[in-house]
Symmetry: C2
Subunit: 204 residues, 2 copies
């Protein structure tokens, strides 16, 4: 239960509201705070020197992000839509962890969770466009509500930069899955999963 990190009275913070596209922190800045999404969605990303952007992860309500073991943030973070986010001082968490083994274990656990996510992401990036999009839809379905109706907080460009594809390829792949009856495009950000077994098969 990594959420407990933010659950103790000692660490209860007041949510702060961020506008759509507002920067939460930038790569290289001092990593003084740890964050938890209450409402909305967050992307962490890097921009390569030639302008390509890679999105590392999406954070949804309940998710913790921005926990660094080093001094600085290694990625930048932005709100994808209007979001409420709770903050705690990293130094405070670290000092509690020093005397409380349970909190120390939770810090480790948050990092281990990120590691799992990063490794799954790498596995994604060696697959075909269809497989990547299928995996993305299944991941989002599971994380949002585990229902067949997926209401995406992010646009096509964010999806493309997360999957290592272009916006055109993401769009085409979705239309193709829709013509299969595998999914249904109710609106660009509202997608119904009509045939999970096909998606799962694509997912490997």
């Amino acid at each position: 239960m990594p959420q407990m990190l933010f659950g103790s009275p000692e660490l209860a913070g007041i949510p702060v509201a961020y506008d759509r596209n507002a920067e939460i922190y930038g790569e290289g800045e001092l990593a003084d705070y740890v964050y938890k999404v209450v409402r909305g969605a967050v992307r962490t990303y890097k921009v390569l020197n030639d302008g390509r952007r890679q999105i590392n992860a999406f954070y949804l309500p309940g998710d913790i992000f921005g926990l660094e073991i080093g001094e600085d943030y290694t990625w930048s973070a932005e709100a994808i839509v209007g979001s409420d986010i709770v903050t705690v001082k990293r130094s405070l968490v670290l000092s509690i962890a020093e005397r409380d083994g349970e909190v120390a274990r939770q810090l480790w656990s948050v990092t281990a969770g990120e590691l799992d996510g990063a490794r799954s992401h790498s596995l994604l990036l060696i697959k075909s466009a269809q497989e990547r999009v299928a995996a993305f839809l299944l991941e989002m379905s599971q994380r949002l509500a585990d229902a067949n109706l997926v209401e995406l907080p992010m646009g096509r460009q964010d999806i493309a930069d997360y999957l290592g594809l272009t916006i055109e390829t993401v769009s085409r792949t979705l239309t193709q899955l829709a013509s299969n009856e595998t999914i249904e495009l109710l609106a660009s950000r509202s997608i119904a999963l009509r045939n999970r077994s096909v998606l799962s098969r694509l997912n490997g």
Copy 2:
């Protein structure tokens, strides 16, 4: 200093020798041990249902691997060449961490190091073949000896499966970098870096 995990007298183990291609553990097995490479090299990998293999990471002398927060190993591990590897019981490390905050922090630090590696790996996988190979050579140079002569422990297939390319593309890209004078192929596993600035530029 994550090495200290294995440095305490309590955790001093006797190195075990593994043959080339010997399995160290398999995905899904009980994660009872944590490992440290003394001599040789190790790959961790997964095989997808269609037979494609992804190599997650290479471990070289001094590196710790196989530390899981969950019950099972999530990847398989094999020796790339004949290797000596020290082992400690995970339960032992965990029980020490419970009373020793410094050891707890080291566990966290090992996982955080893996996280950095996994994220860099993801960044790699969105790049072109030239960029991936250049990044690979620079990474290996730095990790092996930080010299211009890189003696790779792994073959082309391992490199390909790590970079998400085919063996042919890796081979062609190396020949191309050699015809540039960027590198020199002394033997298939012995590569001299002749122009690091070109490689770094490719690396982004």
